[in-house]
Symmetry: C2
Subunit: 196 residues, 2 copies
């Protein structure tokens, strides 16, 4: 084996982990979400900019407001998952840069003075962190159900502001009955990787 | 503990793993790259679209062409890392969708007929896969050095084409001497996560 990661961990995070479409009623606790964050916050981002922001939708009232912005096919699972999280990019992450990147506090002004530059960087790096977050959900023994079938402008207006770009909504919980389709095929190594 | 992932795996992937700036001479083999891909290819993407494409820069001639497009601070590590990979998003991923998402082969035309829609989806989902790839590099016991300080248009013209958007360049290898700065601080849970 060329990997040093324990095979059980490989299964938990990638090989047996699946995107769940149904969930049990078992709650996802605040402690679990904190443990997930305390693990995945260490995943790398450019200049340690850490632009991911998370809105946990816990109240019935907020859940109802979110469900109406989801595509029809995503509404039932968003309505029934034990916990739903909105993942967003903070386009004003540069305000925290002097604290987050003390080796080079000038980065805030030298690289991120312009909003369009910040927006591109925030979305790319928050997407990296969204992937770490999905891996972290699995590390907690939970299934993630990331979704991009939704009205992004509606979710932004309802839950965020102009400085925060929503990237996806993630259902979180223990998988329920018939939680997934058979696994779809993946591209072969040679279809993805070329060597020069 | 709220996580079920083995603590040694937590350390390997997140807690002790660091972005390396120097590397030993030990080569990164084709078998290692294949093992990394065969693990992280299972990470979820929207419609299983799997838009990440990887260019492994193995020849001295290609390495030289790449280094000149890197920012000055990134040139020495790009020149000396055992292996360097260009990670890119395939904006024409929809051509593979009927194969990759057999539950709903119409997705290709129903959702991805327009190029700007495809580009946004390709960049977001390839960024997720880039993060899985970084985690996979660490799962192989190697250090990753992801970089976005580079001339993206130059790298695209030199190594890719109009249908492929470069996202980052990643140095891969065993960490060398003085491989990293002290770890920078992370945002506290309450600065990142809000509940509604």
């Amino acid at each position: 084996m060329s990997l040093v990661l324990d095979p059980a961990a490989q299964d938990l995070l990638f090989r047996q982990a699946r995107t769940a479409n149904t969930f049990t009623d078992e709650p996802v606790t605040e402690e679990q979400v904190q443990a997930i964050y305390d693990l995945v916050k260490y995943g790398p981002t450019a200049f340690n900019q850490s632009p991911l922001r998370v809105v946990l939708v816990r109240s019935a009232e907020a859940r109802e407001r979110l469900v109406k912005h989801m595509s029809e096919g995503n509404q039932p699972k968003t309505a029934t998952a034990p916990l739903v999280a909105i993942l967003a990019a903070d386009n004003e992450f540069h305000e925290e840069l002097p604290e987050l990147f003390p080796h080079f506090p000038q980065a805030k002004d030298a690289f991120f003075a312009e909003r369009p530059v910040r927006e591109r960087s925030a979305v790319l790096n928050a997407a990296l962190q969204a992937a770490y977050f999905i891996v972290g959900i699995r590390a907690a023994g939970l299934a993630a159900g990331p979704m991009t079938g939704l009205d992004f402008a509606g979710v932004q207006k309802e839950f965020l502001d102009d400085d925060h770009t929503p990237l996806m909504v993630v259902n979180i919980g223990k998988p329920g009955e018939n939680a997934w389709f058979p696994r779809s095929p993946r591209l072969a190594f040679d279809e993805v990787v070329t060597t020069v």
